[in-house]
Amino acid sequence: MLGPATRCCGTFTSRASGFHPPAALLVTCWTALGEELVSRLLHVHFKDDKTKGAVSGDALQLMAELLKIFVVEAAVRGVRQAQAEDAILVDVDQLEKVLPQLLLDF
């Protein structure tokens, strides 16, 4: 059940087409803590007094989605790196290796 969702998120950069949005799985903490957490996270860093109010509701939902993809992508790439290295778990060493490309893609 989790398969398609995480698999999709994990390979979005390697497939030009054939990336289908996961069904509303991974409906987890992001969407539970959801909008409010994302809103607070962004507001902490807003510098401009004029924008301080306002992120539209749709934009918040989309940002939550983006952040979720960011986390899942980092995790799945880490797993792939660990699998390629025949490691038993994903450690910071593996994460370090996938970090540059991850940050370039975001």
């Binding site: 989790l2 398969g3 995480t6 698999r7 979005f12 950069t13 030009a16 990336f19 949005p21 991974l26 987890t28 903490c29 992001w30 803590l33 957490l37 607070r40 996270l41 962004l42 902490v44 860093h45 807003f46 510098k47 401009d48 004029k50 924008t51 109010g53 306002a54 992120v55 539209s56 509701g57 749709d58 934009a59 939902q61 989309l62 940002m63 989605e65 983006l66 952040l67 979720k68 993809i69 960011f70 986390v71 899942v72 980092a74 995790a75 799945v76 880490g78 797993v79 660990a82 699998q83 778990l89 994903v90 450690d91 910071v92 593996q94 994460l95 970090l99 370039l104 893609d105 975001f106």
Partner: protein, 138 residues
């Protein structure tokens, strides 16, 4: 005076800490799901690293979003700004664009349903009122 500034600094710091803790929890949940699916464990340091990463990336995102909105001479950040954030990878952009249409569609349907409900409500109460009027006139 200095004490006040220090206290404020403290408050802001502890607020950030709480936010980071919330992010850490969420990242933990998401990684747990990935771990179950891929049958590969994550070390605690990795999860901590990813959550620190996410928090820092939020800062970049927030600043960019602000700039985009200001560039478009708006005070509200909307979905166009978010889509611009996702421009670096083609498949990411496509996914986000599709998602934004999905969200717009869902919200549109929800609004339509709400409107229908309130219209029905008004309709019913009007009917009752009319029936009441007819009754009393008899």
């Amino acid at each position: 005076m200095e004490e006040e500034a220090e206290a404020e600094e403290q408050q802001r710091f502890s607020y950030q800490q709480r936010l980071k803790a919330a992010v850490h929890y969420t990242v933990g949940c998401l990684c747990e799901e990935v771990a179950l699916d891929k049958e590969m464990q994550f070390s605690k340091q990795t999860i901590a690293a990813i959550s620190e990463l996410t928090f820092r990336q939020c800062e970049n995102f927030a600043k960019d979003l602000e700039m985009f909105a200001r560039h478009a001479r708006r005070t509200t950040i909307n979905t166009e700004d978010v889509k611009l954030l996702a421009r670096r990878s083609n498949s990411l952009l496509k996914y986000i664009t599709d998602k934004s249409e999905e969200i717009a569609q869902t919200n549109l349907e929800r609004k339509a349903r709400k409107k229908k409900k309130s219209e029905n409500g008004n309709h019913n109460s009007r009917e009752l009122a009319e029936a009441g009027v007819v009754e009393s006139e008899k």
